[in-house]
Amino acid sequence: MRKIRRWGPGLLLVSPSILLIAVFVYGLIGWNVKVSFSDWRQAQQTSGFDTGAYGELFPGDAGQTDDFVRSVATGDQPLSLSTDPAWIVDLHHALLFTLVFVLGALLMGAFLAFLLDKGVKGEGFFRAVYLFPMAVSFIAAGVVWRWLMNPAPGDRSTGFNLLFDKLGVGFLANEWYLGVDWGAAALAVPAVWALSGYIMALYLAGFRGVPEELREAARMDGASEWRVYRHVVFPHLRPVTLSALIILGHISIKVFDLIVAIGGKQLITQTPAVYMWILIYDARDYAKGAAIATLLLVGISVLVVPYLVYTVRSEREV
């Protein structure tokens, strides 16, 4: 009884949120997984268990995966495989988007933080300027970047292509997000723009967290400024980089609004999350939509769970 009195009220206080999270987060995740393993492909579902939806999201013959992706790219994909060609295109886009977005935002963020750390006049001003894009929603940013990355040729060009033309570097003008091979990289540019300020803030905090004494000690030992960063500051930033990777990675895997704002619902710009939306609300293929949702969740968990384990462990060590 005494024990209950000790933890009872606290538990009662958090119980609404535990209950709500249990139902609306974990309950719905469970329901989603259940739907993904059903045959709810059209209006109604019949039997209980069916892996058909996943079957269309994995190449029928694992050994042929590489050939398969290549043949989709060249346009003569064999039909014998049951894999949904849209999904292969989505994966290609997701991979390219993730690479450009995560690396771009990390490098830009670290570079901006490095510049500010070196002591610029009006640091607060620049910090705000670089951080602001994060306050703009992806939808609004997408509308603006759609105009900036307008692929229209000749006298109809706007945004970057027009700028390139006026600057006399017209050969740089390109078709941006409409490119078959590299379109997804163009889609990642606005995302880099939006998030690099945030990454900068993370790194800046990281830089400031490195004790000045360490830097001075290195300088006393005759280390050049580059070596100070290379061997003293950067090794201290590993946890920051890891957090940044997790944050960027999970945004990248579930990116939806930015893509829809720029490219709409077209295969040329489609990502897994957009396809999930199309399957559920347009095609009403609930099982396959749920299967994609589940795969996205697994993808994000692969990133987040090891990070959580790492954090919990390092906190214990502290």
Partner: protein, 434 residues
């Protein structure tokens, strides 16, 4: 822990418990209250008519309805979003939750089949019988919206998809004639290209599908087109005739603008209006965009001089139609009123009130032509005599799932331009869905 503190605890516990229960129960209670206040009759109608001529037309219909039914006023439940993309998502959630409106909008034809198969809408043949719609609407229209022998919706308006738009001044200045046949069209496109124009303006992927369907109807004819959508039609999809149609489509794509994927349909139409492109294929909602007021975001052009129209070459005497229609959901809270609403929608008064404002024609053949502008007058005439072909892009002939598979096949084709690969994918889609 002191004894006094311990004794005070039960009250704290109780208070917390009450708070928890209240927090959980309140939303539910809120819903209950809402359900009960519905006892006064209110006709809830769900649509995506939130802007432009459609919203204005709906407002007029609501005015007539409220005057005639003061005891059961109209409750306008709209969700914004072109072609109902967002609205359909909201509706799907409501229907799945067993909370249907009294009537909801849907494209007539196969797009409604998901609702029909799920038992979410009721057959309304009795309304057609009582109101005599069968006598005033084209028999082929009623045949094409029938599913398993029953009718499930009342078409309010008819749009035409196979319209070729051009700028008379541009064509005249470059000596281009309005094409009537496939051969003439290619000649005209080539001339436009030589003159430095965009021969055929096209927009994002769905407008490419729109173009595809008009080309296929032209090449296959309305009967051949209809045959593609019957059960077990995969053999027809692999026929020579389809190969020929797809080759034509591929040829046309060679005359389109390279930035199509970045343009919405209005952008593509504006290229024609601005004299930068020779032709554009779009549904007749383009008429509203071209002739509507500048204040409404339209171009305020004069019909016939500022812009001209013709059937897409090869589809003369074919009306590639689509229609907004309304249904009777199962479990509609006010079913009697919903039946009256559907009867009203099919009436000449309602259709002649709504359509001139929306920029479409009535499904009925007895419309008062005086109420309509130049384009719609010509459409009214064609509607009475043309053969009908249902639209693919706008939900008449194929289910949502089939449409999605065709979207994927088309999306890949736009990237690769590989016709035989495209046809194989279309055959596979037919095999899976027909």
């Amino acid at each position: 822990m002191s004894e006094r503190y311990g004794r005070a605890r039960p009250t704290v516990l109780a208070a917390a418990l009450v708070a928890v229960v209240a927090a959980l129960a309140l939303p539910a209670a809120g819903l209950g209250v809402e359900g009960k206040s519905d006892q006064a009759c209110q006709l809830s109608v769900f649509s995506w008519w939130t802007g432009g001529g459609e919203a204005a037309g709906l407002t007029k219909l609501i005015g007539i309805w409220n005057k005639a039914h003061p005891d059961c006023k109209f409750k306008n439940e709209t969700v914004a979003g072109g072609a109902g993309t967002n609205a359909k998502a909201v509706l799907a959630k409501r229907l799945a939750a067993g909370n249907p409106p009294d009537s909801f909008q849907g494209h007539a034809g196969a797009e409604l089949r998901d609702y029909i198969k799920a038992g979410q809408v009721l057959p309304i043949d009795f309304i057609y019988k009582q109101a005599g719609f069968g006598k005033v609407m084209p028999a082929s229209l009623i045949n094409q919206i029938r599913y398993n022998g029953k009718i499930y919706s009342v078409p309010v308006n008819i749009h035409r998809a196979n319209v070729l738009w051009y700028n008379p001044k541009t064509l005249k200045a470059n000596g281009i004639a309005v094409p009537k046949s496939w051969g003439q069209w290619i000649t005209a496109l080539q001339k436009a290209e030589d003159a430095g124009l965009i021969p055929l303006a096209m927009g994002e992927q769905w407008t490419a599908k729109h173009l595809l369907e008009t080309v296929m109807i032209g090449a296959l004819g309305p009967k051949g087109w209809a045959a593609l959508w019957r059960p077990n039609s995969q053999a027809r999809w692999s026929s020579k005739a389809v190969t020929n149609a797809l080759n034509r489509y591929n040829t046309l794509l060679g005359y389109t603008n390279s930035d199509a994927g970045s343009l919405i349909w209005q952008d593509a139409g504006k290229l024609v209006a601005d004299g930068k492109a020779a032709f554009n294929v779009m549904g007749d909602w383009q008429d509203g965009y071209f002739s509507g007021t500048k204040k409404g975001g339209n171009l305020a052009l004069k019909p016939l001089t500022g812009y001209g129209w013709a059937p897409v070459p090869g589809t003369d005497n074919v009306y590639d139609w689509l229609s907004d229609s309304f249904t009777l959901p199962k479990g509609a809270p006010h079913q009697a009123a919903a039946v009256q609403w559907l009867t009203f929608l099919g009436s000449r008064v309602a259709q002649d009130t709504f359509n001139p404002v929306k920029g479409s024609i009535p499904a009925r053949k007895d419309a008062n032509a005086k109420l309509y502008g130049p384009y719609l007058k010509s459409a009214l005439k064609d509607w009475k005599s043309d053969a009908l072909a249902g639209s693919l892009t706008h939900g008449v002939v194929a289910s949502n799932a089939w449409n999605a598979d065709i979207d994927t096949a088309l999306g890949l084709f736009l990237q690769t331009k590989n016709v035989s690969r495209f046809q194989t994918a279309l055959v596979a889609a037919a095999k899976k869905n027909s």
